[in-house]
C-alpha cells in the first residue's frame, strides 16, 4: 500500500507533459464570462490546451477524462492584474526580491522577464487556489530606497509581463506587455518632493523617446538626454501606443494630470491605484481609461487617497470604466477573489466582478484568447466547490494551458507534515 502511494505521489510531481489530453468537465455551473453568460449543468471540453466546446448539450468525447463538476462552479482561471509573482520569494530577504531596483542606471528598459522565476513557491500556492495567470510588474520601493543614502530611482519602473502559473520554463506568455510608472506622492518623492517635477521627468522621457523614435540614429544619441539608449528604445512601443502605460495615481487631480499627459503624447493609459478614480468615473469611461485597484482599501491612508471607498468598483463599473483587481501583496494574490466578493457586497454586479478577475485584465493589457470559456480560449479553468467569490470556497481542480495541475504546494506539504503532532519519528521524516 505504502509503495503504491509513494509511486503515485512521484507521478504527480513530474512536470506536466504536453500530451494531447482531452478533458470534459461535466455537470457544473459554468460562468463563461462571455456572451453565453452562465450555464447550469454544462460541459466544458478541453483539448490541446484550448477550450473546444462549452454548452449544456455538449457530448463527452471518446477517451476524455471526465471531471464531475456536479454542484460545483466552473470559471476561467483568475488573474491578478498587477502582481510581483515570480519576482519575490520573501519580502525582507533582499536576495530573493527582483521587483524593484535601487539605482537609476536603467529605467524603462527594465524587463521583469529577465528575473521571473517559475520555480517560486508562491506559484503553486497561488494556483491551487485558482489563480492561473498574472500580469507581473516591476515597481518602486521608497522604503528600500531610503535605506541607501543618496540613492535615486526613476519613476519609470520598467516593463511587465503576462505569465502563466504552470511553473514551466516557458511561463512567460508575453513579455513587455506594459510600461509601469509612478506618479502622485511616490512620483513626487522620487523626483525631489514635488508632483511638478515628477510630471516633468515623465514628460522629458516621453519627449526624448518620441524624438528618438522620429530621428533615431547615432547622431541623435550624442545629444543631451535623460535616459539611456535602451530606455529610449523601450519607450518606443509606449510612444507608438502599442503597449499601455500603467500609471500609479490616486488623487483625482493626479489622475486628470496623467490623462492630460496621455492625451498630449497619445498614450494608451491605464490607472493603477486610483483611490479617487470614482470621482471622475465618467471622464475615465469617456476616454477609455481602465483602472486597476484593490477594492477593499477604503481608508484615507495617504493624503492622495482621501476619497478611498468600498463602493469604488461599483461606481466605476456603473459608469462604464473597465476595472480589474490587484492585491497589495504578492504572497496573497490568491485573495484577489475575496476582494472581488467584497466589491460585490458593495454593489458591483456579480458578472462584472467575474469579468474583472478574468476577461478585463486581458483586455486592459491587450492579450488575446484569454479570460472566457468559449471555443478557442486558452484552457485555464478552475472547478470550485462553491461560489468562487465566497470566502468559504476553494478550488477542487485547476487547469493551466489545458493541463491539470497537482493540488499541492509547499503550504499543503507543511500542513500535512504537522497535521499529526505526536509522531514516532521527528517531523523531518514525514515528507508529504
Amino acid at each position: 500500500m505504502k509503495t503504491t502511494a509513494l509511486l503515485f505521489a512521484t507521478v504527480l510531481v513530474l512536470p506536466t507533459v504536453a500530451v494531447a489530453q482531452t478533458y470534459a468537465i461535466t455537470g457544473g455551473k459554468v460562468h463563461t464570462v462571455s456572451d453565453a453568460g452562465t450555464l447550469d449543468d454544462a460541459t466544458v471540453v478541453i483539448t490541446d490546451g484550448r477550450v473546444v466546446a462549452v454548452g449544456t448539450d455538449v457530448a463527452v468525447p471518446d477517451g476524455a477524462e471526465v471531471i464531475d463538476a456536479t454542484n460545483k462552479v466552473v470559471t476561467p482561471g483568475f488573474v491578478p492584474a498587477y502582481s510581483h509573482l515570480g519576482l519575490v520569494e520573501i519580502g525582507l530577504v533582499d536576495e530573493t526580491v527582483d521587483s524593484y531596483q535601487i539605482g537609476d542606471r536603467f529605467s524603462a528598459a527594465v524587463d521583469v522577464t529577465d528575473a521571473f522565476n517559475p520555480a517560486s513557491t508562491l506559484i503553486p500556492i497561488m494556483r491551487v487556489e485558482g489563480i492561473t495567470r498574472a500580469f507581473v510588474a516591476p515597481t518602486v520601493s521608497l522604503w528600500a530606497l531610503a535605506r541607501v543614502a543618496g540613492a535615486r530611482t526613476s519613476l519609470i519602473a520598467g516593463q511587465g509581463a503576462w505569465v502563466d502559473l504552470s511553473g514551466s520554463a516557458d511561463s512567460v506568455v508575453q513579455p513587455r506587455v506594459a510600461m509601469f510608472v509612478e506618479l502622485g506622492e511616490t512620483g513626487a518623492a522620487l523626483t525631489g518632493g514635488s508632483r511638478t517635477t515628477a510630471m516633468l521627468e515623465l514628460r522629458e522621457a516621453l519627449t526624448d523617446a518620441h524624438d528618438y523614435a522620429e530621428e533615431g540614429g547615432d547622431n541623435w544619441l550624442e545629444r543631451d538626454r535623460a535616459l539611456s539608449r535602451l530606455d529610449l528604445q523601450a519607450l518606443g512601443p509606449v510612444i507608438a501606443g502599442s503597449i499601455p502605460v500603467v500609471a500609479r495615481v490616486e488623487r483625482a487631480s493626479d489622475i486628470r494630470a496623467a490623462m492630460q499627459l496621455a492625451d498630449e503624447f497619445d498614450l494608451k493609459l491605464v490607472i493603477r491605484g486610483g483611490a479617487e478614480a470614482w470621482m471622475l468615473a465618467d471622464e475615465l469611461a469617456e476616454a477609455g481609461v481602465p483602472v486597476i485597484f484593490d477594492p477593499v482599501r477604503n481608508l484615507p491612508d495617504r493624503f492622495e487617497r482621501l476619497g478611498s471607498r468600498l463602493e469604488a468598483a461599483a461606481l466605476l463599473n456603473e459608469a462604464g470604466v473597465t476595472i480589474a483587481f490587484s492585491s497589495s501583496d504578492e504572497h496573497n494574490d490568491r485573495n484577489v477573489r475575496q476582494k472581488a466578493g467584497n466589491a460585490v457586497a458593495y454593489g458591483l454586479p456579480y458578472a462584472a466582478a467575474l469579468a474583472a478577475l478574468t476577461r478585463n485584465p486581458a483586455y486592459i493589457y491587450g492579450v488575446e484568447e484569454y479570460g472566457s470559456l468559449e471555443p478557442g480560449a486558452v484552457a485555464d479553468i478552475v472547478v470550485w466547490d462553491g461560489d468562487p467569490l465566497e470566502v468559504t470556497t476553494y478550488a477542487d481542480a485547476v487547469f493551466i494551458n489545458g493541463e491539470k495541475i497537482p493540488m499541492e504546494s509547499r503550504q499543503t506539504k507543511l500542513r500535512d507534515r504537522y497535521l499529526k503532532l505526536d509522531r514516532e519519528l521527528p517531523h523531518a521524516y514525514t515528507k508529504p
Binding site: 525582507l92 470621482m279 504572497h331 466578493g341 476553494y394 503550504q411
Partner: protein, 456 residues
C-alpha cells in the same frame, strides 16, 4: 480591591505626601499613584431591547436558532430559545439574522499608526532602545484615526492597541472599546489590564543590528529579555522589602522596571510577537525561569507546529488567516494554522494587525474554517466565532466582561445581515454596552472622524 477604594487610598496617600512635605516624619515615603490615565468611558445612551427570531452564536461554542436576547442597562439579561420579552421593552424581530458577540481584535495599531500614514502621526514604535517597557501605547493614540469607524462598521467592538515590534519590550498596550471619543481615556475598557508587548526574532535584531547595538542576533534577543527580567525581579523584591518594612530606604522608581514588575505580579499580561515555533518554545522557557505567563503569542505563523505546547502552557496564539512570506520567519504559513491550533486544545485567535483586515475578521475566520473542513476537520460557525470573541476576550483579561452572549456580560453585539462567515455579509447594527454605536441603514449612527469631516 474595588476601584472606589483604590481611588480613596490614592487620594489619602497624596494628602499624606503633602503633609509629609510640611513636616518630615520618620519616613519620606512617596506615594506611587497607580491610578493614572484612568478610563473615563461612559456607555452611550441606550434603551432596553429584546431581539427575537435571531440566529445566535453565543461566542463560546453554542448556536441558538430562533433565539432571543434581552438587553437592559447595557448588559445582557438573558439569551436563549425560550426567553420571554418583558412588558414595556422594545421588541426587535431580526427575521433570522445572525447575532454574535462584538468582534474583538487583540492586535491593532489604530491611533498609534493611524491613517493617513505620515511620519508626523506614526507613533507606534519607540525605536530608541530595545527595551522601552516604560512607554504606553495609549500615549500615542490619536482618537481621530478614521480606522476606528471603519473597524466599527466591520463589527469590532473591542481592540487591544499595541506598540510596534521593533523592540524586545515595546511597552504597554491598552484595551479600548471602539467608541468615537475626543480622548483615548474615554475609550479605555474599564478595568481591563494593561498588556506588555514583547517581540521575538527578526524585528529587534534587524532594527538594532542596523544601528550596531545589541541585539544583533536571536541569542542577543534572549539575553536582552533575561537581563531585563532579572532586573525586574530585583526591583520587585526591593519594593516588597521596602513595603514590608524590611528595608529602610525607598527604592528609586523606574518606569521600565515597574512595567516588568507588573507582569511578574500578574497584573500586566504578556502579548508576545513571535512567528517561529522554536522561538515560542524559548519564550515559554524564559517565562518559566522568571515566573510569569505568556498570555498570547501574536503573529504566530508557526503555531501549528507547536500547538500541543501552547495547549500545555495555556498560551493563546493570535494568527492571521493567510498572511505569510513577507519575511523569512513568516515563510512557513499554512491556511489551516488557526484550526490546527484550536484542534490541539489551545486558545486560537484571529487577529488583524491591519486597519484593512480588521474590517473583515469574520471573513478571515471563514477562510480558515473552510480550509480546515476541506481536509476533514468539522468546524462550524459556532466554534469558529470563538476565534473572534471569547478567545480574544480571554487573552485580554476581559473574558468575564465581554466576548460571549450570556447573562451578565456587557451587551457588546453585532446584528449581521446574514451568516457572518460569508463575503457578502455585513455588520448591520453594532451595539456596545447596549448602545447602538453603528447602524448601516442610518447615516446619523455612522461616526465620522474630525480628520475626514469636510475633506472632500
Amino acid at each position: 480591591m474595588s476601584v472606589q477604594y483604590k481611588r480613596l487610598l490614592a487620594m489619602t496617600l497624596v494628602v499624606f505626601a503633602i503633609v509629609a512635605c510640611e513636616a518630615p516624619r520618620e519616613s519620606d515615603r512617596t506615594a506611587v499613584n497607580t491610578e493614572v490615565f484612568e478610563s473615563t468611558y461612559q456607555a452611550m445612551p441606550s434603551e432596553p431591547v429584546f431581539f427575537r427570531n435571531a440566529t445566535i452564536l453565543t461566542g463560546d461554542g453554542e448556536r441558538i436558532d430562533g433565539g432571543s436576547i434581552l438587553v437592559s442597562d447595557g448588559t445582557i439579561v438573558a439569551v436563549g430559545a425560550d426567553v420571554e420579552a418583558p412588558d414595556d421593552v422594545l421588541v426587535v424581530d431580526v427575521g433570522g439574522k445572525w447575532i454574535t458577540p462584538g468582534i474583538i481584535d487583540v492586535h491593532s495599531h489604530l491611533g498609534v499608526y493611524p491613517s493617513p500614514d505620515v511620519p508626523a502621526l506614526a507613533d507606534g514604535n519607540e525605536i530608541s532602545a530595545p527595551n522601552t517597557a516604560e512607554v504606553w501605547a495609549e500615549h500615542s493614540i490619536w482618537p481621530q484615526d478614521p480606522g476606528f469607524a471603519t473597524a466599527l462598521a466591520g463589527g469590532v467592538t473591542t481592540m487591544q492597541i499595541l506598540p510596534g515590534s521593533a523592540n524586545l519590550f515595546g511597552g504597554r498596550s491598552v484595551t479600548v472599546k471602539n467608541v468615537p471619543a475626543r480622548t483615548y481615556q474615554a475609550m479605555k475598557f474599564p478595568g481591563a489590564p494593561h498588556g506588555l508587548k514583547m517581540a521575538c526574532g527578526e524585528n529587534p535584531k534587524r532594527v538594532y543590528g542596523a544601528k550596531g547595538v545589541a541585539p544583533t542576533t536571536r541569542m542577543g534577543n534572549v539575553a536582552g529579555y533575561r537581563s531585563a527580567w532579572a532586573a525586574a525581579q530585583k526591583y520587585s523584591r526591593d519594593w516588597e522589602r521596602y513595603e514590608n518594612g524590611e528595608a529602610e530606604e525607598e527604592p528609586e522608581r523606574n518606569l521600565q522596571l515597574e512595567t516588568l514588575a507588573g507582569v511578574l505580579k500578574g497584573e500586566i499580561l504578556v502579548h508576545n510577537h513571535c512567528y517561529r515555533a522554536d522561538e515560542m518554545a524559548t519564550m515559554l522557557d524564559i517565562a518559566k525561569e522568571f515566573g510569569y505567563r505568556v498570555t498570547a503569542f501574536h503573529h504566530a505563523v508557526e503555531a501549528y507546529k507547536v500547538a500541543d505546547l501552547l495547549a500545555e502552557n495555556d498560551t493563546c496564539a493570535a494568527m492571521w488567516a493567510d498572511w505569510w512570506g513577507f519575511k523569512i520567519e513568516a515563510y512557513d504559513g499554512v491556511r489551516e494554522n488557526i484550526p490546527m491550533v484550536d484542534a490541539a486544545g489551545a486558545c486560537a485567535i484571529v487577529h488583524s494587525d491591519s486597519e484593512i483586515g480588521m474590517q473583515r475578521l469574520n471573513q478571515e475566520a471563514a477562510k480558515a474554517m473552510a480550509a480546515a473542513n476541506r481536509i476533514g476537520f468539522d468546524i462550524d460557525e459556532a466554534q469558529a466565532i470563538r476565534w473572534l470573541t471569547s478567545n480574544p476576550a480571554k487573552a485580554l483579561g476581559i473574558g468575564d466582561d465581554t466576548g460571549t452572549l450570556s447573562a451578565g456580560r456587557m451587551a457588546d453585539l453585532v446584528v449581521w445581515s446574514g451568516n457572518p462567515f460569508s463575503v457578502y455579509t455585513k455588520a448591520d447594527k453594532v451595539f456596545i454596552d447596549g448602545a447602538l454605536v453603528y447602524d448601516r441603514e442610518d447615516p446619523a449612527r455612522q461616526p465620522q472622524s474630525d480628520f475626514e469631516l469636510g475633506q472632500l
